[in-house]
C-alpha cells in the first residue's frame, strides 16, 4: 500500500501533518505522538522579532468548535532557529515552518533567515484574523496575495505554501492569485472570524472581541473551499479545517487535498494525528485502495 504523497517536489511518507499554531514545534506533543510517524510537522507562526500576542482570555469553546485570538505570539526567528529547528531535525519527518509578519519586509526577512536552515517547506500565513496589521490584510485582496507571493518567492530557498483565509467572497480568486505569484502549494483554510458573548457577564468571551473559529464546526466550509480551489489551480493543496477523524481526512483528500493538516483535534486528543494516519490506512484497506494518490480529488 502506498501512502506517500508528493508535495511541491517533496515526498511525504503520509499525508497527515499538524496545523500551525496547534502543535507548537512538536516539543510538547512529542510525549504523545511519535513525530516520525507524521508526514510533516508544521510549526507555530514565527516572525522576524518576538511578538507578545493578544491579551487573555484568548480561548473560548463554542458548540463543536473553538475561538482563538492568540495573536501570533512567537519568540522571534532567532530563538526559533536556535531551539525549534534543531529539535525537529532529530525526527524523520518533513519540517514546514509557518511564517507571519506585519509587513512584506518582515515576511521576507524571516524567509531569508530560513534559507540556510534545514527546513523542507515554508508556509506563509497571510490569513490570520487575529492581528490588525499583517496577516489577513494580505490575504483578502487578490492583488496583494499575488504581490506578497512574488516577493517571498524571490528570497525563498524552499518551496512556498501560501496559507489562505476563508474570510473572502471567492476563494478561487485568492488561490489563482497565489498560483500566479509563483506559489508551489496552498494551505486552506485558516480560521473563520467569529465572536462569542458571555450572556451572564454581558461581555465578550475573548479579550480581542473576535477570534478565529476552528474545529469540526468549520469542516464543511473547509471541504467546499478545498474543492473549489482544487478546481481552480494546478498546484497541490493542503486541506485543513475541523479534521477530527480519518474519515474527515479522507473526505478532504477526495475533495482535492494532497495532504491534510490536523489542528484543533490535537486539543481533544493529543495522539489524534497518529490515529488519523492509521485510520487512513484502514480506509485504504477496506476499499482496496493501492495508492493514496488515487484518492486525491477523486470526487469531481
Amino acid at each position: 500500500m502506498n501512502t506517500k504523497v508528493n508535495l511541491a517536489g517533496l515526498t511525504l511518507k503520509n499525508p497527515v501533518m499538524t496545523a500551525s499554531g496547534t502543535f507548537g514545534s512538536g516539543i510538547e506533543f512529542a510525549e504523545f505522538v511519535d513525530l516520525n510517524k507524521l508526514g510533516a510537522v508544521v510549526t507555530k507562526g514565527v516572525a522576524n522579532v518576538p511578538w507578545e500576542g493578544n491579551p487573555t482570555p484568548r480561548i473560548a469553546e463554542t458548540y463543536g468548535g473553538m475561538l482563538n485570538a492568540v495573536g501570533l505570539q512567537n519568540p522571534g526567528i532567532d530563538v526559533f532557529v536556535e531551539r525549534d529547528i534543531p529539535f525537529l531535525t532529530k525526527y524523520d519527518t518533513r519540517i514546514i515552518v509557518n511564517v507571519c509578519g506585519r509587513t512584506t519586509e518582515d515576511y521576507c526577512e524571516v524567509v531569508r533567515r530560513l534559507a540556510s536552515q534545514p527546513v523542507d517547506l515554508l508556509e506563509i500565513n497571510i490569513s490570520c484574523p487575529n492581528v490588525e496589521e499583517g496577516g489577513i490584510a494580505f490575504g483578502q485582496n487578490p492583488k496583494s496575495v499575488e504581490a506578497i507571493t512574488k516577493e517571498v518567492k524571490k528570497y525563498a530557498r524552499q518551496p512556498v505554501i501560501m496559507k489562505l483565509s476563508p474570510n473572502v467572497t471567492d476563494i478561487t480568486e485568492m488561490a489563482k492569485a497565489a498560483e500566479a505569484g509563483g506559489a508551489d502549494a496552498l494551505s486552506l483554510i485558516n480560521t473563520i472570524t467569529g465572536m462569542k458573548i458571555d450572556i451572564h457577564r454581558r461581555a465578550f468571551a475573548l479579550a480581542n472581541k473576535t477570534g478565529g473559529l476552528s474545529g469540526p464546526a468549520i469542516h464543511p466550509v473547509a471541504v467546499r473551499m478545498v474543492y473549489q480551489a482544487a478546481q481552480a489551480v494546478r498546484i497541490p493543496i493542503i486541506g485543513m479545517g475541523g479534521i477530527m477523524t480519518a474519515e474527515d481526512a479522507v473526505e478532504m483528500i477526495l475533495a482535492g487535498a494532497t495532504a491534510v493538516a490536523v489542528g484543533t483535534a490535537n486539543f481533544r486528543n493529543p495522539a489524534v494525528t497518529m490515529e488519523i494516519s492509521e485510520g487512513i490506512r484502514e480506509y485504504m484497506e477496506q476499499y482496496h485502495v493501492e495508492d493514496i494518490n488515487e484518492l486525491i480529488g477523486a470526487v469531481k
Binding site: T56, I59, G65, M66, Q73, P75, G215
Partner: protein
C-alpha cells in the same frame, strides 16, 4: 521533560460533598504515581461537541492505589456532564500537568479560597513544617474536616455563618498569625490581596493561577499570563500557565 500520560481513568467513587461541589476519585495507570501537589489534570468530556479539556486540580493523591481525587464545582456543561457519571464509568484524562507547589520547610500559611481550596489539600498533607491552614468560603463548607488533620485550621465565611466573617486576610489579622511562606489558590481578588499582603510583610509567596486553556500542555499559547521578566521559553513577557505554572512566585507575574 516532565512525564505525562493520556489515560482512560475509571471512576472509583463520586459524591456531592456540598451544594454543587463534587468529589471524584479516579483510578489511573501511572498519573497518580507521578503527581505532585498543585498540579492538575485535563479532563475530557464524553459529549463530542465539547472539544476542549477541562483543567481540574489534583486535590489528593493515593500513590499506592494509583488514584487521584478531584473536587470541582459544577459551573457549566462540562462539569455538569462529569457530575452525572457513575462509579465504574471512565473518563479520558491527561496528566499530571503544570509545575506544582515547591515543598519548603518553613512556617507556612496555606490559603485556599472557594474552589481554590481543593489543590491545597494534598499540599497540606505533604508539607513538613508548621502549617496554618486558612480557608475562605462564600457560605457552605467543604473539605474542612480533611484539612483539620494536617495543621491548625482557620476558616472565614463571607456571610459569617462559620468562623471569621470576612475573607482569608481577616482571619490572619483577627488571629494575629504570621508565617515565613505563603501558598495560595483562589479567586483573583483574593490572590491580589494575598500578593499585596505578602509584599508588605516581605513573606515569600506562591500562588496558583487560572486561565482558559486549549492544549493544556504548553503548545497553543492560549493560557498565558503577564510576567515581570522575559520568559525563557516564549522570549516575551508571557508565561504559560499550563506549563511554567499554574504555580508562580507572586512577584514574578502580573494579574
Amino acid at each position: 521533560m516532565a512525564e505525562k500520560y493520556k489515560e482512560q481513568a475509571v471512576i472509583i467513587r463520586q459524591e456531592e460533598i456540598s451544594y454543587g461541589i463534587y468529589s471524584m476519585w479516579l483510578k489511573t495507570d501511572r498519573i497518580a504515581g507521578l503527581s505532585k501537589p498543585g498540579q492538575f489534570i485535563s479532563v475530557y468530556c464524553h459529549e463530542g461537541s465539547r472539544l476542549l479539556p477541562r483543567p481540574i486540580s489534583i486535590c489528593e493523591i493515593d500513590r499506592e492505589d494509583q488514584s487521584v481525587r478531584i473536587v470541582y464545582r459544577v459551573v457549566g456543561k462540562g462539569t455538569e456532564e462529569l457530575s452525572q457519571l457513575r462509579t465504574g464509568r471512565s473518563v479520558d484524562i491527561v496528566g499530571p500537568l503544570g509545575n506544582g507547589f515547591p515543598l519548603k520547610e518553613k512556617k507556612a500559611f496555606i490559603i485556599g479560597g472557594g474552589i481554590g481550596i481543593p489543590p491545597m489539600l494534598q499540599l497540606a498533607k505533604e508539607l513538613n513544617c508548621e502549617k496554618q491552614l486558612i480557608l475562605g468560603y462564600r457560605d457552605s463548607l467543604f473539605l474542612k474536616e480533611e484539612f483539620k488533620k494536617s495543621g491548625s485550621l482557620y476558616v472565614a465565611t463571607e456571610d459569617g455563618s462559620y468562623g471569621t466573617e470576612g475573607n482569608v486576610l481577616d482571619v490572619i489579622r483577627e488571629n494575629g498569625l504570621d508565617a515565613e511562606i505563603i501558598y495560595a489558590c483562589g479567586p483573583m481578588p483574593m490572590l491580589r490581596a494575598v500578593k499585596e499582603f505578602a509584599a508588605k510583610k516581605r513573606i515569600e509567596c506562591w500562588i496558583s493561577l487560572e486561565e482558559r486553556m486549549a492544549c493544556g500542555v504548553g503548545a497553543c499559547l492560549g493560557c498565558v499570563c503577564k510576567s515581570k521578566e522575559k520568559d525563557r521559553h516564549t522570549n516575551v513577557n508571557n508565561k504559560r500557565i499550563c506549563k511554567e505554572g499554574p504555580v508562580f512566585r507572586a512577584e514574578e507575574v502580573e494579574f
